[in-house]
Subunit: 180 residues, 2 copies
DNA sequence: CCGAGCATGTAAGTCGTTACATGATTGG
DNA sequence: CCAATCATGTAACGACTTACATGCTCGG
């Protein structure tokens, strides 16, 4: 996943490894952490694959390497962005993709969100079934915390589904949160 | 983390590796996936550490190994459950711990949830600051999706904080979700 | 009797982390 | 001038996943 997040970051601006990290932290940092120990070796692998190029600014005495995405890199990134693989279990993966959707035609991105939402609905139903099994138990107080995590899952799913509705219909985002 | 989830699972019932997996899936499966390739080797390491013992039922022709938690294992599990390490970035870790809180004194578990909630509040403020920076931009429509992920983060945090309030005060859980 | 599910395990590979090592540059 | 931050990297390790390999058992 880091591979594509780096490509997505470089897609809008050429950066050093150091700056890539900061961009990730400020951007998808909510869902995804990246350390230098993963970024630098990966940048070298991306160089080998020719997904990125390296502009070594000689005017800098500092050994600064500015990475630039190539056409092949852009293609690989687009393929990732458009595919639906592995989004199922990983909300982080999905959100990371949404983060990079701004340049995509609205039809495609809305479609993506709606189809994700459908899969969430399926999962929600599953959890509701699980909850019903608990409801039948008489000694619920013995499982309060176990049950609370199930409620948490349901609660979180409902809020993501709501988020999908708002975003897919391009509504004002501020309706999503409590006021500040 | 899997180590402690296995111990927590065995804490209430002795099980085979196969059954442990099913219990994990039905229990903390919402936050955490475990494959056999991780469970079986880990069980052997737990045997070495003497956190678990193995009852090989000879009455079964099937090569079935039932794992039983030891006192040392219980101690290690309790230490994990009571510590607050690594909960920060990982909501999954926190929720997994809550899942195993039912046997804990209420004072301790509520305290745990409340202190987690405080850290969430700090993070929420950070995100609100980030949001304010976006609010100042005039070309917000160019960042709609980027912004949407930020709103998602805020939205999710607010809902977890609400969840913490309800659970820490032992309220009826059904207030958390939309009706079914 | 056969296929689904029970049951255990290994080997190779992936994808990361942590800790270390090094050195340049810049602002107070 | 010195501390903070910029900047790049490596080595060891950790915690998994995937795919494979094996064989039992039970219900239809």
């Amino acid at each position: 996943m880091l591979e594509y997040i780096i490509l997505g970051t470089l897609n809008s601006k050429s950066l050093t490894g150091y700056d890539i990290r900061k961009c990730i932290e400020d951007g998808v940092g909510m869902f995804f952490k990246a350390s230098f120990g993963s970024i630098y070796p990966l940048l070298n692998r991306l160089l080998e694959k020719e997904y990125v190029m390296c502009k070594c600014n000689d005017d800098n005495k500092r050994n600064k390497k500015i990475y630039v995405i190539t056409d092949q890199g852009k293609e690989a990134f687009d393929n990732w962005l458009l595919s639906s693989e592995n989004e199922l279990g990983s909300m982080e993966m999905f959100m990371a993709k949404v983060f990079f959707c701004d340049k995509l035609p609205k039809e495609i991105s809305c479609n993506k969100i709606n189809s994700y939402k459908m899969r969430l609905n399926d999962y929600l139903e599953e959890l509701i079934e699980r909850k019903k099994k608990y409801d039948r138990l008489t000694n619920q107080q013995d499982f309060y915390y176990k049950l609370s995590t199930l409620y948490f899952g349901i609660c979180k799913l409902q809020s993501i589904i709501h988020w999908c509705d708002i975003v897919a219909s391009q509504q004002e985002l501020s309706v999503l949160i409590e006021k500040y």
